[in-house]
């Protein structure tokens, strides 16, 4: 019978996070993402060599706006980022840890670059999985904080971000010098996504060490914008646009847990049903929406949401 198969010529680049002693690092494992030669989960049309991976999020300060359902699985470890990271790896078997240095932001404690450098060093000591390191989003501060973080983790092949159209030079130079991967961020805009990658690569940065952060919204809170940007970028990449052919990283946890549907107590919205399941599922569902659009790395929070998203990924990857 008739079929309608696309002959894709493009391929998503393959990024490897983490360096073992063989590569001059101290990680016990590596995480590899990307390499797709087809649209999400259409195995009959091409290859999806690497399953999407879920990184667990650790913050450098105790979270203040997390609902109890989200705090509970971590207990006291939330007060100590190193213990928190250890718990993620040992108890929840995270293959990848994402450290967000939000506490360096002038509005959230203004921690120094030296403090952050020490924290990254301590986490690298305490856990042996690869690291993602994210700045606070304050350009000036990120330039000193991330430079320091890059320096202290030299050779560990971390994934560090975010570089933006207006602020990419310092971070690109650091990641280049210290052998890391970099995240290029764009505000739900495919042209800027491409532009950021061009700017980074023009500094001599290899394309296969760039990951795209398309800045997603939570389910119900603008998810569809990033969803369509991701679909457009993936289609463009598969027909040969190398400047969009990078794996996607999606900050699922931080977005999903801002949603009212994830946080509101049952007393406020009895019609929405069980509070615990609702919050967890809002995070799972936000993950589902970006996975269908082609996400490669998900940064998530709740262990139960992560467990279920992992199960769903295993199902998707079963061909």
């Amino acid at each position: 019978m008739e079929t309608s198969k696309q002959n894709w010529t493009g391929k998503i680049s393959v990024a490897t996070i983490g360096a073992t002693d063989k590569e001059g690092g101290t990680r016990s494992s590596q995480v590899t993402v990307g390499g797709e030669t087809t649209l999400p989960y259409l195995f009959k049309e091409g290859d999806i060599p690497n399953a999407p991976v879920i990184a667990m999020e650790v913050l450098d300060i105790e979270p203040t706006d997390w609902p109890d359902a989200l705090k509970k699985p971590f207990g006291d470890s939330l007060k100590d980022p190193v213990k928190w990271a250890v718990k993620c790896v040992e108890e929840y078997k995270a293959p990848l840890i994402s450290v967000k240095l939000i506490g360096t932001h002038p509005d959230f404690g203004n921690k120094s670059a030296a403090d952050s450098g020490k924290l990254i060093k301590d986490i690298l000591q305490a856990v042996k999985v690869p690291l993602i390191i994210l700045g606070s989003g304050d350009d000036e501060k990120d330039n000193v904080v991330l430079a320091k973080a890059s320096e202290v983790s030299k050779g560990e092949r971390c994934l560090i971000g975010d570089a933006t159209e207006k602020n990419y030079k310092t971070l690109t130079a650091s990641c280049l010098a210290d052998g890391h991967n970099i995240i290029g961020e764009s505000p739900i805009d495919i042209n800027i996504a491409k532009q950021v990658n061009i700017l980074i690569s023009e500094m001599g940065f290899p394309l296969d060490r760039i990951v795209i952060n398309p800045t997603i919204g939570a389910l119900g809170y603008g998810m569809e914008y990033a969803y369509s940007i991701m679909e457009r970028a993936r289609n463009a990449a598969l027909i040969g646009d190398k400047m969009l052919a990078m794996p996607f990283i999606c900050l699922v946890g931080q977005e999903a847990w801002r949603a009212k549907e994830a946080k509101a107590p049952s007393s406020e919205h009895p019609e929405w049903g069980d509070e615990y399941s609702r919050g967890v599922l809002w995070e799972i569902e936000t993950a589902v929406s970006v996975l269908v659009a082609g996400a490669d790395i998900l940064v998530m929070r709740h262990p139960k949401a992560i467990e279920e998203a992992k199960k769903y990924i295993d199902n998707l990857m079963r061909r």
């Binding site: 079929t3 009959k44 119900g220 969803y227 369509s228 929405w272 569902e285 279920e308 998203a309 769903y312």
Partner: protein, 445 residues
């Protein structure tokens, strides 16, 4: 499939009579192919030619209607593979599976639960759309009894699930006024099911485990005279379903492949609610016209309905609210005035937080062409000038005895200019809507 000018020409009288206003039949045919004129301009066209042209003018994916009245479900008539190419038109019908082996009491309870799966989100109603009743008992009288309970208890459209034509016939007799969906015709029963579909004018699901077999089955149903069809490729893994649905959509749209020019129905395989929601949502995003679920918790259904709303939003036209003064709570002339944009998501997020603050307030939504605060500011749709104009146009000063307005924290930079332009005192509110309750409670203290 759309016909070319020459193909249409062959169907015309070829008299060049000019009654259509064109010099020749060929010229008229070319205009028809370009859809610039309609066929009724030709007074001499034969009935056969009309029929041929009409079927060629059919949409690549047929619109199928299930049920009647306000609750009827319309699926199909989609035109693109990706929402960014245009938009998706007919939101996936969310269905719930019930079984005739359940007691009457349990069925009634289930219907009550399904009735509650009806939410309001950013000004739109999102809810359950269809009930699928399975004849698990394989007993016609049990199926009939259960169906009667359903028909009494809900106005939602119904899908009748049995592979046995005699059982289906009895069920159709008592539900024929409701335009139910018949599930299902297979290679084993298609002749009888086709007869029922025609006799009761009810749409029919064609179900086969492979695309090849499905093509054959649909052709057989067409040959029997059935035109209202919904496609089903049976139970399989998520990636396989994605492939099937993608093939069906692509072949219908890209190759005008008629056997697949119908919407599809999906049943979830997972029993466990988290996984079922994830699976169902995948099918909502990727082309299902109907998804039938087993679980019916509000917390497991709301995310699917929300995802459907997101995916089916027109990417060119963000949801907007009317630009006007909204009164939240029992407002007085002392109540605070907050301005924001008319992007639905922005407005409703602000509204929800103002409501939860329990501080009666006015929200002035400015026409920002459906953009959020920061985007609208960057695009110069939410500026000191536009806010000033809106305050004037809506006569906000007549509503309150003060002259103080609160603007979103993200556009704090506007405050000086806005004070100058409008003559109102400007207070900078929080950046995120979540900060509104504490902000309002402390306002004026």
């Amino acid at each position: 499939m759309a016909l070319s000018g020459l193909e249409i020409y062959k169907l015309l009288p070829k008299t060049n009579c000019k009654k259509c206003g064109f010099p020749t039949c060929l010229a008229f045919a070319m205009q028809l192919a370009a859809k610039k004129v309609s066929l009724d301009k030709c007074p001499d066209v034969t009935e056969d030619a009309k029929r041929a042209l009409e079927s060629a003018a059919q949409p690549p994916i047929k619109l199928i209607t299930i049920g009647k009245g306000d609750e009827k479900l319309e699926i199909g008539n989609e035109t693109v593979l990706f929402r960014h190419e245009e938009k998706f038109y007919h939101p996936t019908g969310i269905g719930f599976l019930l079984e005739d082996t359940s007691s009457e009491q349990d069925l009634r309870k289930a219907l009550e639960e399904i009735k509650k799966l009806d939410f309001e989100r950013v000004g739109q109603r999102i809810k359950a759309n269809i009930i699928a009743l399975s004849c698990k008992s394989k007993d016609a009288s049990k199926f009939e009894a259960a169906l009667k309970v359903i028909l009494q208890g809900t106005n939602l459209p119904v899908a009748l699930m049995s592979d046995e034509p005699p059982i289906m016939e009895k069920a159709l007799e008592i539900s024929k006024d409701k335009n139910p969906l018949i599930y299902r015709a297979t290679s084993a029963n298609f002749k009888e099911m086709a007869k029922l579909s025609k006799a009761f004018k009810a749409p029919l699901v064609a179900s086969a485990p492979t695309l090849e077999e499905l093509e054959g089955l649909v052709k057989n149903l067409n040959a029997e005279g059935v035109q209202d069809i919904v496609l089903d490729t049976g139970e399989k893994g998520i990636a396989e379903k994605l492939w099937d649905f993608t093939q069906i959509r692509r072949l219908a749209l890209k190759k005008a492949f008629r056997p697949f020019g119908y919407p599809v129905i999906a049943f979830t395989k997972s029993e466990e609610p988290f996984q079922e929601t994830a699976e169902a949502s995948t099918y909502v995003a990727k082309y299902a016209g109907i998804v039938v679920l087993k679980n019916r918790n509000p917390w497991s259904t709301l995310p699917i309905l929300t995802l459907r709303q997101n995916i089916y939003t027109d990417p060119q036209k963000p949801l907007q609210v009317e630009a006007k003064i909204y009164e939240i709570g029992k407002v007085s002339d002392k109540s605070p005035v907050l301005v924001t944009t008319n992007f639905s998501l922005t407005y409703y997020t602000v509204e929800a937080e103002v409501e939860s603050s329990k501080v009666p307030s006015y929200i002035v939504s400015c026409d920002s062409e459906g953009m959020s605060v920061l985007t609208a500011w960057a695009a110069e749709k939410f500026t000191a000038e536009t806010i000033t104009k809106t305050l004037k146009r809506l006569g906000v000063k007549d509503k309150v005895s003060h002259k103080e307005v609160v603007i979103p924290g993200y556009v704090a930079v506007l405050s000086g200019k806005l004070e100058e332009e409008s003559g109102w005192k400007v207070t900078v509110g929080p950046r995120e809507a979540s900060g509104i309750p504490s902000f309002l409670k402390n306002l004026g203290k």
